[in-house]
Subunit: 719 residues, 2 copies
């Protein structure tokens, strides 16, 4: 039969030299490419001997569900391994599984619908069917050359043509949806059409059913899903999921539709969005849980592995990219990733190579004018501290009502924590692995986040449409040097209440870790109850608040408060101080808190099915019209229980004072003792929405004048 | 000055060839000895440049406390490194620190007493002063040869002689205490006397102040502290602490008092107790928390590192010993450990070398007739499962009231959990790192353990003297093969209530992990409330009990119940089934529970200082006279949230039934479906205290005869 010289993601001339290297054994055995290849073979080789099975239907996480998913992955991986190694056993494996589906698929009924997603014939939502198709057709394209025409016909006519029919005709209404699911649809259908030589369908996948590149199709998805900064509205958890089909289809079009110049398309949108995703990640590779997300999703996700390889191949080298690849522990096994693998081999030791992305502000909205996500980073003594603030858009159906929400990552832990989603993905016994009711009643509520709650309500009253119509407003962002800061407003999220949050991340020689300072200002004509939540984890080791245990009443009836038990309360002194031990180090929270009340709360109330993880949070409760929450978070000391070594259980910072605040600015003083010397710092922050670098500020508080130019000023006097 | 050819723990002729190897650079750089040496140098070398300091007094965990401790460790390590490398900088470092203490120590006042321990002059308890002396004098002995006589005199007269005076005269009453602290005292004083040539004092350390080797001294400690099995009454946490001075002094006497044949002394007691300690450890190297203990103490502790080297050098090689050494990640840097290091280098890869100790029963009491500690182990698919049952003595002042307590270790996690102690060692802000009140009010109480609580009381009414006078009675122990079992009685721990617990650990081909079966039988003339606690960690993913959230009332007023919140309750069906997810796998508890109530509880009540860790437990509550709790614990499935893979969320075992029980025996049936086939197992357990291998049992329940010989029988019919 005629050799095929072109595959969806590479040409025969691209794979040939690689195959030669591998078959000749000339690939350095301890090299990154070889070890990645060994990993893939370790995954696929058992299937060479195992019994094949194409089961019926099942819930997410069930044997049937997992088996269909694994079958598709095996078809793709085996096909790829055949291309890499020339070993026909891999081709046979892919063929046999495809053969079974060719027999059974036509007779399979549609599954019963389980959520908003239309059902497929293998899975309960077509999203999974799209994914199945993408993997299966890639694998098929790699082994097709080994098959007689009759077998090709059986596979194409019984599986692939019916699937294209299902996606573009039966579910036509769903095909052009601008959404991460839509990306999977167009990539799967597009690559399948490419393999089957269905140019008309391929055009539909690229330009949309209407052919206008606006109402739908791959190009429209690129233009409409990502902000100019590359940020994806639903957040990193869904971004890393969308980026897989984005990159796979891009590679196919790069090879087969060069005239589209897909990597240059829309001002290099694909490269920008890959960088944007990577720049959201914490130093340990995990993604901050912005909107619905698991707390453990990280850069090892297959989509990110592919994206890193694609960026390196199509947009060029950068150290952080190579560091990320090493952190991923594997490289995408396609010809275009070979250079990246070599770069990893050539790079210095792991320690130095942990990726260090710069501080960055990622704008939101198609025009980049609907707020942003802010990421501040400081590297001190080799350890990277990161603060993340959300002052952008609501995340659509997966959005959390947490504008001005803040997280802090320090000493390899998330210290100011996100809860993530209320869901156990693929755990059959937890509502089939789908989203739980508590995702709405707790996880997406404002109080579940580190942002102020007004009158025990939820931002935008938990109205998604309303929330989508609003967004945060950037104030200023300064992301370089030892003093970094970001500031934003959210004035449409609680009726009649203006909110401004300013976060500083300071690197001080005298301290072992950067200092986080948080000024959260509220202004209103009416008196309100303001709750400032601190979601933490660990054991309280010291507090200057006289906390009295309560009868653990439930804190409220709705907006998430119905899930919070009231563990203890106490009136706060002028400056609250509370220290907790999280794993192997201490964290101290100082807050100006005159006349406030501190509430210790824990999740778990009204949770009959035990769907909530039990977590602790602190609520600093204050009543007023205009109010400034001034807080400081210091990471200090270390504790190793196994060796029974402990030091630095007390922090260096002792006091935070509000000297004054108004609509012009806020002035705060911080006192402590660092490295044996007294430490005094004064911070001046502009509260003017119209502030620019030359704006002059003159404020008088207690007969003292505070004068500075621009966004903010920090004065440190070592007395 | 004359070269000294003899040191406390090695002779000049033993160190010379090692020094030659090292200085010549002939030590294989990636070998275990060389990497351990590099670790030690990495610890000490910074001190060569750092500023020296001898501070005043401070709490445990304070700078002063830590600094004194670190100074002594630096003196010892620097002295040793000088002997190994011949580098005089190390000798100078040790000398300079000793010089500072020679200046200041004489003027230092005694510290204020903080606990039952007499205070020292550097530390608040002389225990720490003993430890300081042991390290300091070892270091001194290694560098003495480099010092002029005047300097030697200054150090010996200002530090070491006064310390000997303090320990043997001032605190004479404390010197002969048979206790782990006593071992530190005699080892420190003995080795110091050896270095100073004070033979009389050395004799006191060996034979006691009375010289009778009974009332006190090292030999008496060996005879009286350890059971014939080698088990140490306070449990592994204090055992690993006592074993350090035990081994150090043994090495000194082995070299300098060979006529004592210390390693042969008292039927090789030292070797036996080293093995006994190692055989208590979990597969991950942690020690089960029997009595007061941290949950993270493990075989990496310095005492265990020394003990492993000593055992290998003096009692010979065994694979588990070498595996333990590798797990420790370092070898003791003394000449006698060189062969062990070479054995580690020669041993197969890490995976195969995780130590696999056999199942073992360790008897208690000086005659070995006061009960025992039982350890069952099964290795399946490379994973080691371990069950631990306490049916021995009360642990003296550190004893927990938990006779018949059970823990289970599976898939690298403690699944049926111990709470450990209520203490943050060396955390200054937690009561100076000392034991917290909650250690008595919760951690040591019966309900804090996995053993039945009668009428919400505590075993032996929390009376230590009473508890010390009682102990568990072994029934039978069978520790080999796929079906292992241990059984014991505790009839003196609750007035008028007899208790028997039988635990089986079964390896079944059809299951991925061994099955734990637990039959806890109570018998009494009167009706009692029996609570069967299950201390677990994780998220409940399924239960067939209709659990109704409660108002979180506190469960009781004392005996630990005052610290438990009542989260939810439900009446139980005939067979209770509850599954939880702990980290990456599932655990299902099945229990015959007709007419019982299940209570979900959580620690944290009446804990104003937040001294308790929040932990969950299940209480299966039943009322009756004679009652059998029949439970089964199955570990199954896996969940990887990061990759969103999940399988086996449901267990294979479905039902456990009590067919009958009386004072002759108990018969239980287990049903399930394993590997696609129905599974039925019948267990017959002897309840006769006088059972022997030939005892015949014939029991009739529901017109069925159950007949077996000996301790127990297991019949499995694949229907």
């Amino acid at each position: 039969m005629p050799e095929i010289d072109s595959y969806p993601l590479f040409s025969g001339t691209q794979i040939a030299p690689l195959r030669a290297l591998i078959t000749a054994g000339d690939l350095p055995a301890d090299g990154f490419f070889a070890t990645s290849l060994a990993q893939l073979q370790a995954r696929v080789d058992p299937a060479l001997k195992a019994k094949l099975d194409v089961p019926g239907h099942g819930e997410a996480g069930s044997y049937a569900h997992n088996r269909h998913r694994d079958n598709a992955h095996t078809i793709e991986a085996a096909g790829r391994l055949y291309q890499m190694t020339g070993n026909r056993d891999y081709a046979r494996l892919a063929t046999e599984i495809l053969g079974l589906y060719a027999e059974r698929y036509p007779a399979m009924p549609y599954q019963q619908q389980k959520n908003t997603n239309p059902p497929g014939r293998l899975f309960h939502q077509i999203l999974n069917e799209h994914m199945w198709l993408l993997y299966a057709v890639l694998g098929y394209s790699h082994v097709r050359e080994t098959l007689p025409e009759t077998q090709r016909q059986a596979i194409e006519n019984n599986i692939f043509h019916p699937m294209i029919e299902m996606f573009t005709v039966t579910y036509r209404h769903d095909f052009d949806r601008i959404h991460n699911h839509g990306l999977w649809a167009v990539a799967a259908v597009g690559i399948c059409a490419l393999v089957l030589g269905e140019d008309r369908v391929l055009d539909q996948a690229i330009f949309g059913l209407e052919g206008d590149s606006i109402s739908g199709g791959y190009l429209a998805q690129i233009k409409r899903l990502f902000a100019p900064s590359g940020y994806y509205i639903e957040g990193p958890y869904y971004h890393r999921f969308a980026i897989r089909p984005l990159c796979l289809f891009a590679e196919a079009l790069h090879l087969h539709r060069p005239e589209l110049d897909i990597y240059g398309f829309h001002d290099q949108a694909i490269g920008k969005t890959i960088r944007a995703l990577l720049m959201t990640s914490y130093p340990n590779g995990r993604f901050p849980a912005l909107n619905d997300a698991s707390l453990s999703m990280d850069i090892k996700d297959e989509g990110v592995v592919i994206a890193v390889a694609v960026h390196h191949a199509r947009y060029g080298h950068c150290d952080a990219l190579v560091g990320t690849a090493r952190q991923q522990g594997q490289v995408w096994l396609y010809p275009c990733a070979f250079e990246l693998a070599q770069a990893v081999d050539a790079a210095p030791s792991e320690q130095e190579q942990r990726p260090y992305w710069p501080s960055v502000e990622l704008n939101e909205g198609m025009q980049g004018d609907r707020g942003a996500q802010g990421f501040l980073r400081q590297r001190q003594h080799g350890d990277i501290t990161q603060a993340v603030m959300n002052y952008g858009q609501h995340g659509m159906g997966h959005g959390h009502f947490d504008t001005l929400g803040l997280t802090l990552f320090s000493r390899d832990q998330e210290v100011l924590r996100e809860y993530g989603f209320g869901r156990w993905v693929n755990v059959e016994t937890k509502f089939g692995g789908r989203y739980l009711d508590e995702n709405k009643s707790w996880a997406r509520q404002t109080v579940a986040h580190n942002t102020v709650v007004v009158d025990q309500g939820c931002q935008n009253a938990f109205d998604v449409a309303l929330a989508d119509s609003h967004h945060g407003e950037r104030h200023f962002f300064s992301g370089t040097g030892p003093v970094q800061a970001m500031s934003a407003f959210a004035n449409q999220h609680y009726a009649g209440v203006g909110m401004q949050r300013t976060v500083l991340l300071l690197e001080l020689d005298a301290l072992s870790s950067p200092l986080l300072i948080d000024l959260f200002r509220l202004s209103s004509e009416q008196t309100h109850q303001y709750d400032y939540p601190v979601h933490y984890q660990g054991q309280i080791t010291h507090s200057n608040v006289d906390l009295q245990p309560t009868e653990r009443r439930v804190l409220g009836t709705d907006n998430g408060y119905q899930h919070l038990f009231d563990l203890a309360r106490g009136p706060t002194p002028q400056c609250l101080s509370l220290t907790w031990l999280q794993d192997n180090c201490f964290h101290t929270w100082l807050a100006a808190a005159e006349g406030a009340e501190l509430i210790l709360a824990q999740t778990g109330a009204n949770d009959p099915s035990f769907n909530l993880r039990r977590q602790d949070c602190l609520l600093l409760r204050q009543h007023g019209r205009d109010h400034l929450f001034a807080s400081l978070f210091e990471t200090h000391g270390q504790f190793d229980e196994a060796s029974e070594h402990c030091e630095g259980a007390r922090g260096a910072m002792q006091h935070i004072d509000i000297l004054g605040h108004n609509d012009q600015g806020s002035v705060v003083a911080i006192r402590g003792e660092a490295a044996g010397a007294p430490f005094l710092m004064t911070l001046m922050i502009s509260n003017r929405a119209d502030v620019c670098p030359t704006t002059e500020h003159r404020l008088f508080f207690n007969n003292t004048e505070y004068h500075w130019q621009g966004y903010f000023a920090v004065v440190t006097n070592k007395e």
